[in-house]
Symmetry: C2
C-alpha cells in the first residue's frame, strides 16, 4: 500500500514567505490523516492532495500555529456540502478550546467528533494502530505514531505445489495465515510456504518538544521520525526556554531511536537550511529538511528507503521550480 507524507507547513511559530505554519498530511492508500493544521493549511491541501477525504486530524498541542487553519478548513468543508464526521484528536484541552472558541470554529452541518487522547493506542484499524505519547513542550502535548501491522511474509507458490497443493482457494487460505488440510490428512502450516511476517512502516510526528528519552523510546525503529527542529545549536538556550529542540538534538533522538530517516521541521527563520541540516547530519546522516509541499514517499522497509519528491503540480514550469533531485538525494552535509 502506498504511503506518503506531504509537508504542508514547516515553519516555526512565525511563518515566512516560503514556509507556512505546522501541518503535514499522511496519505496511506485511500486514507488521509492530517497532523496539525496551522494557518493556511486548507490552501496547502488545495495545492497538493486536495481537501477530499480529510477525516481525521491529530493535534500535537493547542498553540495557534498548530490549529489556526482549522476554523477556515472546517468552514470550507461545510461549504463543500460535507456530511461525513470530522474526527479531531488532540491532547487534554481540545474540548475546552472547541467550546470556549465555538464562535470562531463555527457550527457545521456535519458532525465534529472530539477525542482527547491519553497516552497509548488511540485508534486501531486492520492496517495500523495510532499511538499518542506525551512530549515536553509546556502545555499538554503529544507525539503521534502510526505503526502499521506486520504484513504476511512472502508466499512461495513453488513450495506449496511441491507439498501437493494446487493454486486456488488453498493458496489463499495459506496467504491469509490459515492452515490447509490435504486429502491425505496432512496439515500444511502457512510457515511451510511463507517467509516470516514482514514489518510494517512506523512514522512518528513529535510536534513541538524538547528532545526526551520518552520520545526516543516511542520512536524506536521508526521508518520516519518527524521531529521539532526549531533552532540551531547557537540558540540552544532559547530552545531550552521555549521547550523546543535544536536540529542536533533532534538528530540525537534519531540516533538513540535507531530510525531510518529523520525529517526536521518547525524551523525558525533565524537559521539557514544549510545550518540546520549540517548540524543534524553531523550527528545523524539521514536527516532532511523539506520545503513546504515536498512529498516523502515511504516504501515498505523491505522494498526500499524513503525519498523526497517535489511535486510538479502547481509548478509554473520555470527551471527554478521544476521537479528535480531534492535534498534527500544529495550528499550535502557532514556525518
Amino acid at each position: 500500500m502506498d504511503l506518503r507524507v506531504v509537508f504542508l507547513g514547516t515553519a516555526g511559530a512565525v511563518p515566512t514567505v516560503d514556509r507556512g505554519t505546522s501541518a503535514a498530511l499522511l496519505v496511506r492508500g485511500g486514507e488521509r490523516l492530517l497532523f496539525d493544521c496551522g494557518e493556511g493549511t486548507q490552501r496547502q491541501l488545495m495545492r497538493s492532495a486536495g481537501l477530499s477525504r480529510i477525516d481525521k486530524i491529530f493535534f500535537s498541542h493547542l498553540h495557534g500555529d498548530h490549529y489556526l487553519g482549522l476554523p477556515g478548513l472546517m468552514k470550507t468543508l461545510g461549504l463543500q456540502g460535507r456530511t461525513e464526521p470530522l474526527e479531531l484528536y488532540g491532547p487534554r484541552g481540545l474540548e475546552e478550546l472547541m467550546t470556549v472558541a465555538q464562535r470562531v470554529f463555527g457550527r457545521h452541518q456535519y458532525p465534529v467528533v472530539l477525542h482527547e487522547a491519553k497516552p497509548g493506542i488511540v485508534l486501531e484499524t486492520d492496517g495500523y494502530r495510532m499511538e499518542a505519547w506525551p512530549t515536553d513542550h509546556g502545555p499538554p502535548s503529544l507525539a503521534w505514531c502510526l505503526h502499521e501491522s506486520k504484513r504476511p511474509g512472502e508466499f512461495h507458490p513453488e513450495r506449496a505445489q511441491a507439498l501437493g497443493l494446487d493454486p486456488g482457494p488453498a493458496f489463499r487460505r495459506l496467504q491469509m495465515g490459515e492452515p490447509v488440510v490435504l486429502e491425505s490428512g496432512v496439515v500444511i502450516e502457512p510457515e511451510q510456504v511463507m517467509d516470516e511476517p514482514r514489518p510494517g512502516r512506523k512514522l512518528v510526528f513529535t510536534g513541538d518538544t524538547r528532545p526526551t528519552d520518552h520520545v526516543a523510546q516511542f520512536a524506536r525503529g521508526a521508518t520516519v521520525l518527524v521531529h521539532d527542529s526549531t533552532f540551531a545549536s547557537s540558540e540552544l538556550e532559547r530552545a531550552l526556554e521555549t521547550r523546543h529542540s535544536t536540529s542536533a538534538e533532534a538528530a540525537e533522538v534519531a540516533v538513540r531511536a535507531g530510525v531510518d530517516l529523520l525529517v526536521l521541521t518547525h524551523v525558525s527563520s533565524r537559521h539557514s537550511r544549510r545550518e540546520l541540516v549540517s548540524e543534524a547530519r553531523a550527528v545523524f546522516r539521514h536527516a532532511f529538511l523539506p520545503d513546504d509541499l515536498d512529498e516523502l514517499i515511504v516504501p515498505y522497509p523491505d522494498k526500499g528507503t524513503p525519498y523526497f519528491v517535489r511535486p510538479a503540480e502547481g509548478s509554473c514550469g520555470c527551471p527554478e521550480h521544476a521537479p528535480g533531485p531534492t535534498e534527500a538525494d544529495d550528499s550535502e552535509g557532514g556525518g
Copy 2:
C-alpha cells in the same frame, strides 16, 4: 503623497490555489491600513509590503473569511517584540468576538484597542478622514471610505514675485493658506498666488454586500471603489440569498456613484475572471479584477489615473510570472 493598494486576498469565502481570503492593504506615505484580515494575511504581507507599521485594521464584518488571519498576525507581531498599540475598527460585535474568543486571539504585550464604529467619520487625521457606512450583508457590516483632505492649489511663485514678495518665509505662509502683509501695508491673499484647492483621493472598500443606494451615495465620485463581486449574473439568485453582489451589480453601483475605477473582489471560484470582468465592463468600462498581490497605484486625480502593477518581488523570474502589462492596461471586455 504616494498611495497604493495591495490586494492581499481576493477570493470569496473559500480560498483557491490562486486567491486567498479577504484582505487589502492601503499604503499612504508611511502609513499602512489593512482592510479585513482573512486567513493567510500575514504571509501575504510578508510577500509584499512587510509586517511593519501595521497599526490599524478595518473590518467590514466579522465572518471568518474576513478575520481568521488576525490571531496569527497578532501573534507574529507580538513575537517580533511589538509594543505599539494595534487599533482594530469594525462593526458592532467586534468587542464581543474578541472577548468570547480571547483564547484564540491570545494575550499580547502590546495594547489592542477596539473601536466599534458607528456610521460617519470614525477617524480624522490632518491628511484624510476615514468614514464607515452600513452595508447590506446580514450581520452588522460596514463599508470603509478613506477620503483625503483637499490639497492646496498650485502655487505660482512668479505671481508672488510680481506682487513684490521674495522667496522665503512669505512664500511658505502663502502656501500654507495664510495671508502676508507687505511693508506697504498691502495684504496678499493666498488666492492671489495659488490655484483653487485640489481634490484629494477617495477610496471605498465595501466588504461583502448587496449593491445598495447607500453604498452608491457613500462612494460618490470615488477615485477607487473596491466592491463585492462574488458572482456572475448566472448566480444572481445565489447572490440575493447570500447577500453578495454580482460583478454587473457592482458595476451598476460604480456607474451611479460616478467613480473613476472599479475593483472587483471577493470572487467565487465558480466563475472565470473573464466572465466576471466582461459582465462588469458591459456596464462600467473601468472595471478590473486583480490577482492576489497585484498593486494599484493611485495618483492624485489631477496627476493621472490609477493603474495596476504586478510586483517583481517574490517572482521566480520565469516568463509566466514576469511583471508586465496587467489587466488594467488591456482593452479586453465590453462596454
